[in-house]
Every structure is written in structure tokens, then in C-alpha cells.
Symmetry: C2
Subunit: 283 residues, 2 copies
């Protein structure tokens, strides 16, 4: 047994860092797109890093995966067709497939190695990969959305890394236009939108690009996520029109288990926070 | 100008770390109780460390100070007499004094040097120290509560460091008995209660000790706090009897500014979180 050591991710844009006490490196692969590493930690289970950035830990990933999926799925009146762009660890897919209404969910991640590493080191996240409603593609998500039949999708979830490297093209007008086209009129686009404490400029810019693509209403939901910079993260929902009232009775009566998400947690995440609203211009 | 470097706090009980990019050390003092250091950071303003643990930054302390005070003050029907044990940086005192109903607020911190450092490096937190309702004592908070006239206090806020070192005696039955005695029948005890993600055992133990001292109802409110381990923190409220319905109309109509706290944020923080409720035995 090696002596535990500390491993840090210095998040340069925010001037803050996150770290874990680790016991050993379990695995490493350099894919055509990025370097994926798996570490064993003393308290957080396994930890996945992509190009040196913390992606997920066994212990805390449920926060992110539940909040990337359930608020949108309970906001849509009847989500049948879901597309996940990125999401190679399969954790978001698993949450989406907990909804019995969902008839098909396609996960399109450019990097097959992320899924192979998840199957090996985070098998619990891949529980639903064999679900007959699930389709796993390893392809360019930008091209996938561009080629998606118009008006064919209820929800697009963009579960990507930060807007640098392979994921950069998932944060601009051209990509959002493809999503807009692919979504039905009552569809919802969801994107991970970084830390509401330090990256409000990014959230504002993202909403701006979404707006240029035609989306008219936005909702940013914050949630705790210790393995990401500042420990406080968010997702942003966008719609062609209409609001974000969610199916509160259905959320209360949900037939599946969650560790963080509930109807009340959903409601709580919708609370307007003064300093956030001010930075986003009253949104 | 020195080249920025990274400074980390390794939080051993959780196996996780927090760090900031700093430019220089601004100040340092070894008080009779602890070592207090002030650093200048690139993105977070000034950072105070006590015995190597991050205490506050200019940028994010409002989250903690607002949540340690306003939920309790808007839960109490008419908070006139408030005691803060610890809280030497004066940020909680400032928030408490925003409530016009408060007639007197005593802050009792064992370490005068914390307040002197706050006055120098976080002057905005000390804005209300000259308020005629404020009393600043530098004395043993355990003795202060033990000598408090019975039934004289509406709210006791325990704004302390972690339960090791000088603050250890603020997390046990004997101290809580003093608080119980000093509080009026409708009084509220508030204590910072660490990270709800990793320190649920501590929260459970704290509630247990509070219960042995006579408190019967408890409410743990989570909130984001990037400079503390995991970035997700909490406070726990305890009452002799009765619930935690808060004065929602008064909170909505509050006459002072906040950056995080609102009536809706308060409501959101009361949402039961499945994994927390399970760990706390349904609480």
C-alpha cells in the first residue's frame, strides 16, 4: 500500500483549487482526444480526471447527474426522446432512463475511451447501458446534432467538459442552432454551465449565444458539486418559448430513487439569488 | 510583485482540499490562542487562515454570514436580544444588526486578534461595530454563556472554528445546556455545522448533544461556501420546542440588502435532501 498523497486541480480562470487525498493511480489512457486518468482516493472512491481536470468521483457524482437530468425531464410535459451530447461516463444516461416516459435516449460522446473507463472504474454509472431504450454512439456531437431530423427531440442535454479543447464547439451559436432545429417546439436544451459564483460571465455569454440561436427563455439552476471548482455548479435550461413550471406532482410521486433531487430541491434551485440575478441582468 | 503561487488547505477528515492562488502574505500574528494569517489572492480578495484552515475570503464570506444569521432571525417571531459566540471577524454581527428589531447584539470571541485583523483586512465586515446596539467582548464564550441570565436571550449564534482547538468546548452538552438556560422559551440556537456531504456524523452527534441539553427540534440548512471543505456547508438551528416556520412575508419585505439570502433561498434551504435525511435518521 502506497502512502496517500494529495492531488490538486488548479483552476486558473477562478484562481481556486480542488484536491483529493489519493492512494494510487489505477489507470490511464491517452485517447485521440484527451488524456483520461483514474485515481483511487481515501474518501471519495475513484476519481476520473480528463486532461488534468476533475471529472467525477464515486462519492459525489450523483449531485451533478441528478441535476443535469431530472429538473429538465420534470419540466417537459412528456419527455419521450432524449439526446445526451457528451456524458460518456453514462451517469446522466442512467438518470434519464429512470423516467418511464422516456422511449429512447441517445448518448453521443466523441471519446469511446471515457465510456470504457467508466465501465471499468464506475460500473454503477453504466447500470442502464443495456437498457433497450439506450443508444450509445461514439461520434462528434456537433455533427450528430447538425444531422438530427428537425423537430425530433424533446430534450438535449449537453453534458460536456469545460469550453476548452474538444468541448469548445458545444458552447456557441452554430451548435445551439442545431439543437434549436432538432428540438420540438416544447423542447428543452440543458447545458452544464459552470460555477455560478465565479463564472457568471460564461453563463451570460452562453445565454447570449443561445438567444442568438433562437431560444427565448432561460433558467440557471445551481447545485453543490464538490469535485468541480468552488464546489458550487449549475446547469442552464433553455426553451424556444414558455416557462419553467415543472410537473411538481409527478416529481413528488416519482417512482425511482434519488439521493439529492426531489421536487422541493428542484423548487429550491429555482430561487432567484440576488448577486446572480444582478450579474445576469435580472434573469 | 511576486509571482502568484498556490496555497492549499488539506482537510484531513474528508480527504479533500481547497486552494487559492495567492500573491503574497499580508499579515500574520500568533495570538495566545491561534495563529492568524492573511494572504492576498488573485481572484478572491484577502484570505484569512487560522491555524492553517481557511476562515474567509473577501469574495465569498457573504454566503456564510448571511446564512448564519437571517434564517434564524426570520424564524424567530421577534428577535431583540442576540448573542454571537465566536464570530470575531464581525461579519455575522453586521448581518444581525441589519434587522431593525434587534435591540442588542453581543459578540463574544475569545481572540481579540481575530477582530483586529478583520478591522485591518476585512474592514467592510466591521461596518457595524460602532452601532450603538453592538457590544464586542473578547472573552471565553463558554463562560459567557454559563453566566448569562436565564431566559434573557432570543438567539444564540455559535460562529466558531471547527470542533478542535479553542472551539472544541462549543460542541458539547455542557455548552448547549448553558445556551438552553440563557435562551427564552421561544429562543433559537444556531451553530455552523460543517459540510453536509462529508460530515453528517458530526451533524448527527451535534444534534444528539443538543438533544441531551434539552433542545427538541432541529433544522439543518445547507448553503454553498467555496472556501470551506467540499464547498458545501451548513448551519443547524435548534429550539426548545416548536417548529421552523419563518416569517416569509417579513423576509420578502426585508428593508436591507443581501447578496445571497432571500425568502425563496431560505425556503429552498429547508428542502429535505434524501441522502442527508437518511443519514440523520429522517430529520
Amino acid at each position: 500500500m502506497t502512502e496517500p498523497t494529495w492531488m490538486y486541480e488548479n483552476f486558473e480562470p477562478a484562481g481556486s483549487a480542488i484536491g483529493y487525498r489519493i492512494t494510487r493511480k489505477l489507470d490511464e489512457v491517452q485517447s485521440p482526444f484527451q488524456k483520461i486518468e483514474i485515481f483511487e482516493s481515501t474518501d471519495w472512491g475513484n476519481v476520473m480526471l480528463i486532461d488534468g481536470a476533475m471529472m467525477l468521483t464515486t462519492r459525489d457524482n450523483f449531485l451533478y447527474h441528478e441535476m443535469m437530468s431530472h429538473p429538465a425531464l420534470f419540466t417537459h410535459a412528456s419527455p419521450k426522446r432524449v439526446v445526451i451530447i457528451g456524458g460518456g461516463d453514462c451517469g446522466t444516461l442512467r438518470e434519464v432512463l429512470k423516467h418511464p416516459d422516456v422511449e429512447s435516449a441517445t448518448q453521443c460522446d466523441i471519446d469511446e475511451q471515457v465510456t470504457r473507463m467508466a465501465e471499468k472504474w464506475f460500473p454503477e454509472l453504466c447500470d442502464s447501458n443495456g437498457d433497450k431504450r439506450a443508444e450509445l454512439l461514439f461520434d462528434d456531437g456537433i455533427a450528430y446534432m447538425a444531422n438530427c431530423p428537425a423537430g425530433s427531440v424533446d430534450i438535449v442535454i449537453v453534458d460536456s467538459t469545460d469550453p476548452v479543447g474538444p468541448a469548445e464547439g458545444l458552447f456557441n451559436k452554430a451548435f445551439y442552432e442545431s439543437c434549436f432545429r432538432a428540438l420540438k417546439d416544447d423542447g428543452i436544451l440543458v447545458q452544464q454551465s459552470e460555477s455560478p459564483l465565479v463564472l457568471l460571465d460564461l453563463i451570460k455569454e452562453m445565454r447570449g449565444e443561445m438567444g442568438k440561436a433562437g431560444f427565448t427563455t432561460f433558467q440557471t439552476l445551481p447545485f453543490p458539486q464538490p469535485c468541480y471548482p468552488t464546489g458550487w455548479w449549475s446547469c442552464t435550461l433553455a426553451r424556444k418559448s414558455g416557462g419553467f413550471d415543472y410537473r411538481v406532482q409527478d416529481a413528488r410521486a416519482k417512482t425511482f430513487k434519488t439521493k439529492y433531487y426531489t421536487a422541493d430541491v428542484h423548487q429550491g434551485a429555482t430561487a432567484s439569488i440576488p448577486f446572480v440575478a444582478e450579474a445576469l441582468g435580472g434573469a
